[in-house]
Amino acid sequence: MSMIQEFKKVWKTYTIGMIWLLGLLWPLLGIHPDGTLSFEKTFTVWAYLFAGTFICLIVYVLNKSGSLDAVKGPVSKVWENGSAASKTVPLWVWLLAAFVMALLFPQFTGRYQQDVAINVLIYVCLGLGLNIVVGLCGMLDLGYIAFYGIGAYTYALFNTHYGVPFWICLPISAIFALIAACIVGFPTLRMRGDYLAIVTLGFGEIIRLILNNWMSLTNGPNGIMGINRPGMWWISFADGISFEHFWFKKLHLMYYVILGLVILTIIAVNRLNFSRVGRAWEAIREDETAAELMGVNTFILKLLAYAMGGFFAGIAGAFFVARMKFVSPDSFIFYESAMVLCMVVLGGLGSIPGIILGAAALIVFPEVFREFELYRMLAFGAVMVLMMLFRPAGLIPAKRMGTRSDDKE
């Protein structure tokens, strides 16, 4: 009986929602560019959605009326036992398991999966850098991708003109991006909030336009080709013992390079996060004036956060170019900045596991659902709404509680 009562409560909103959806779908699917109208496709898509949501509705009603308690009880018990058991396992075991899985990943996967994984890791590196600026220091940076571009072009130019190898150029790229961040940050970081967002957006575009138009240096929109991959000296036993240089042509070697870089980034960001400087950044995010009254040099620390963000973007940029062997300004458009920002916000501001998950989600899902590419933006919108409702602080919100490295109990 109670089931019918529960159903009576929701059927009205559900019906109105479905009719509204039909009204929205028809202009999208039923009006064709050549001016013809059709109804068939709209109704089939709608019918699928109706069937799907109706099943969800039935489950919801059953759950509300208590008919599912017989199933729910044991399931939640198993879940609780499982989570309790997982808490007894120390953190380093999880980290080790994740590390071993990441190491063995290329053994079980093909080119395509490795390619996607490399992409994810590049974005993890970018996301962790942006997290310092946005998540810790609270400065909304919409032009972050510019530093990625500077890192990328630094390696591309040094390598093609002077033949500087990747490993030497990697720190140079990072330092160049850091210096660029200081130059951009110095005049702009006096601004706060929305104003800073607009100015960084402008700087991001300026740097892309410079790359696009400085023909003599960057070859403009045609890009730079023939950039070397990372290489390495290795002991060769071919005729006696000698050292031989070889390039990382195999994709899984590139995967290991970026994996190593990401692990270094994670360690660095983690240490920054739980240091005195990290706490000062968070204090600035919370209340800049109060932080200043407590003796924090807010300007220097904001500049430092911005520079550190640029540094990690530079590392990611240099690797990106080494992997593609080609660079053009098209890779550094505003869409990329927005994408990285999405990863950071989706995963959870300030949370390292959250950002890794966010980057993985935003790269892997579009790949998996390639056939539904047309509906990508629709799915994006739906995910955003669901996130706002259920996980407003991100997939894995940052754990703020607990002690830092320099706290003694």
């Binding site: 000062a280 968070e282 204090a283 919370e286 706290d407």
Partner: protein
């Protein structure tokens, strides 16, 4: 009397074209509690912000321990022993109570002494000790005010500037806060400059008082005389 520890000489300041302070002069002597009272918008908070250098003085001189501090950057002042508890508490809401206190000791490097001071803060404010792992923003108004004061004490101030410690608090909590202020002054010998709208309370806690009106100091006297002054009683004590 001894040399004043904090002295303002004809200080002007403002926000853009708005003049908030039109020539403030005041003297604070070591170890005393001084109150500045006045209505909304009289420039009380601006006075404190100007002393701390957040709002720049456009004219006049500010001396601290005999040194001109007009040009000293705000973040250097806590290292000199001058710290403010800003209006509306302004704790760091998403940092834990412990981290808020650690932020107070930001410029200090003596970890052992910081830990001792933190223990002392927890003894002075037992509620903060109970909640040391809780986020600052989840504390009640009174607890946040205690946290703000405790955070400022972590800088080891010689002069503590307090801006409206009674703002938005229940009378019983306000009494508690003022007891603590008296205790800080007595036990640590901290000089306190108190800005308050609650004139009655402030003048009872202070030894001397200044009355501010529209950016100027109109009256300066012993707290007791101010309390007995019929004009003050009429204007600020509602009689």
């Amino acid at each position: 009397m001894a040399e004043p520890i904090l002295e303002l000489k004809d200080v002007h300041s403002g926000y853009g074209s708005i003049k908030a302070l039109k020539g403030i002069s005041l003297k604070i002597y070591p170890g005393e509690v001084v109150a500045i009272i006045g209505a909304n918008g009289a420039g009380k908070s601006t006075t404190l912000m100007t002393i701390c250098g957040i709002t720049k003085a456009t004219q006049g001189e500010i001396y601290y321990q005999g040194n001109l501090i007009n040009k000293v950057l705000p973040e250097k002042l806590p290292t000199l022993g001058l710290c403010q508890v800003p209006e509306g508490r302004r704790i760091f809401p998403r940092l834990s109570v412990m981290e808020n206190l650690r932020m107070g000791a930001f410029y200090r490097n003596d970890t052992d002494q910081i830990m001792k001071d933190m223990q002392h803060a927890y003894e002075m404010f037992p509620i903060l000790g109970e909640r040391h792992n809780q986020e600052g923003g989840t504390l009640s108004g009174g607890e946040q005010q205690m946290l703000a004061i405790a955070r400022a004490l972590m800088t080891k101030p010689t002069v503590l500037l307090l801006d409206e410690p009674s703002l938005g608090l229940a009378p019983i909590i306000v009494q508690q806060i003022f007891d603590i202020i008296a205790q800080i002054n007595k036990e640590e010998g901290t000089t306190i400059l108190l800005v308050e709208q609650n004139a009655n309370l402030a003048l009872q806690a202070a030894a001397r008082g200044y009355v501010m009106e529209t950016g100027e100091i109109t009256l300066e006297d012993d707290a007791q005389s101010l309390l007995n002054n019929p004009k003050i009683r009429e204007a600020y004590l509602g009689e």
